[in-house]
């Protein structure tokens, strides 16, 4: 597909955003990917990356260097700034690891050129088919897989350039090439989501407005790239929708459902001034305290204050 045709596809997709359901149930294939892309792209990007990341990961700021699971050079100049500053893609590390990772893709290393207790860097295979790759320690591989799932879904393929060709495809869907799918789905299945990864996801969403949906709904990856590819997605984490109320608790299974019998069902929402594209928001993705929700639908406008304790 030529570049201009892909760009045209992007325009059509963006203009149809309002028609896409805010949750993913009942969707499959391309519609599912589009819904994720439209609802999970950050609503804001932080500028103070080091201090935010070190706070989230509870590491000291001294000598902190930012690492990218998907190299910044994978993205075209005009879009690089967003991917470079998307905290889901970033981690605090050391300069030697950043240098060793270069612009490599995740993969299973066969020829090691750098190693420590966090990561292997080197080449997959040998000879002419070998590509530069990194392989994190086992308890981080699922985290990396879910990050790449997120990036390849949220940022459209027309944003990628030639450096990403070892892992990303040039088509709009599914975005990952066959070898990347095989490696990353395996990593995703073998390294389950930890409490630490969930907490990090929620902390980032407090800054950027959106979570990584592959952490919220781990089975989502199977419907895009795994053994349920093409099937209709039905979340196993469906909860009973509750109308808005005054007080919420910040527990693992508590949601704020942006719904009330007093408000039109097609209302659009702002949470503390940031657009919300999801019908339900985890209370853990918001700070303890009071939050203001704005809603509007046609001539109807309104707001409500809620409190998370």
């Amino acid at each position: 597909m030529t570049r201009w045709r892909r760009n045209l596809t992007c325009i059509v997709l963006l203009s149809s955003a309002a028609l896409i359901a805010a949750d993913f149930n009942g969707l499959s294939g391309l519609k599912l990917k589009r819904a994720i892309a439209e609802t999970c792209r950050p609503t804001s990007y932080t500028t103070d990356i080091i201090s935010n990341l070190t706070a989230i990961d509870s590491v000291p700021t001294d000598n902190a260097v930012i690492g990218h699971w998907a190299a910044a050079s994978w993205w075209t100049d005009s879009n690089r700034i967003k991917v470079q500053t998307d905290l889901h893609n970033l981690f605090i590390t050391s300069p030697d690891i950043v240098a060793a990772m270069s612009d490599f893709a995740p993969g299973n290393i066969e020829t090691i050129t750098f190693s420590n207790d966090f990561i292997y860097c080197g080449y997959t295979g040998d000879g002419t088919n070998a590509i530069g790759a990194y392989q994190p320690r086992p308890d981080k591989r699922g985290d990396v897989a879910r990050t790449i799932f997120y990036l390849s879904t949220v940022y459209h393929c027309s944003w990628w350039n030639g450096s990403a060709i070892n892992i990303l495809t040039d088509s709009e869907f599914p975005g990952l090439n066959a070898s990347a799918r095989e490696v990353l789905i395996k990593w995703h299945r073998e390294d389950k989501i930890s409490d630490e990864e969930k907490k990090r996801n929620n902390a980032i969403s407090r800054l950027q407005g959106t979570t990584n949906p592959f952490i919220d709904n781990p089975e989502l990856a199977e419907f895009l790239w795994g053994n349920k590819t093409g099937q209709v997605f039905i979340s196993t984490e469906i909860h009973n929708r509750q109308p808005l109320r005054a007080i919420y608790s910040q527990t693992d299974d508590e949601y704020i459902d942006l719904y009330s019998p007093y408000i039109p069902t097609d209302a659009s929402w702002l949470i503390d001034g940031n657009p919300s594209t999801n019908n339900s928001v985890k209370t853990q993705s918001l700070a303890i305290g009071r939050h203001e929700l704005h809603f509007s639908s046609g001539s109807i406008r309104g707001r409500i204050t809620i409190e998370i304790r």
């Binding site: 808005l244 005054a246 007080i247 007093y262 009071r290 309104g302 707001r303 409500i304 204050t305 809620i306």
Partner: protein, 144 residues
């Protein structure tokens, strides 16, 4: 002399008629003199609220929702389950009497004697409503 008697007769006739009209008019407590009521402190407080006539609902309390549509605004306390609705037929452009003003608590009409907007724009509405007992009810919505 005859002319003077005729004038006196006409005056007494008109006076009598006016008394009859007054007797037929609906009874209503005298409205308070608007000039005596100072609404300016209310204009300095932008907190959305309805206060007066035993109503006291203020936005900012968790669970209090405010909704504005073309010809009504509603305060809903989701915790207490109460709904206060202020409706109108026509708002003045910037300030002045509100036509067809109605204040409902749930479905009960509180029956207003008058409602005057002190400030109206695209997002704000400051209203002094007066019930049939002459009590003031302050209705404020801002930012919507």
């Amino acid at each position: 002399m005859t002319r003077l008697l005729l004038i006196a007769l006409l005056i007494s006739l008109f006076s009598g008629c006016r008394n009859d009209w007054s007797k037929n008019a609906p009874t209503r407590d005298p409205e308070p003199d608007a000039s005596e009521y100072d609404f300016s402190p209310e204009l300095n407080d932008r907190t959305p609220r309805i206060i007066g006539n035993n109503i006291n609902i203020t936005y900012g309390t968790p669970g209090v929702m405010i909704i504005r549509d073309k010809s009504e605004l509603r305060f809903i306390d989701l915790t207490k389950g109460t709904t206060i609705t202020f409706r109108w037929n026509k708002l003045p452009d910037s300030s002045g009497p509100i036509e067809g003003a109605q204040l409902l608590v749930g479905l009960d009409d509180l029956r207003l004697a008058s409602a005057k907007a002190y400030k109206v724009n695209d997002t704000d509405l400051f209203v002094d409503a007066i019930n049939l007992k002459g009590e003031h009810i302050t209705i404020v919505i801002t930012g919507l």
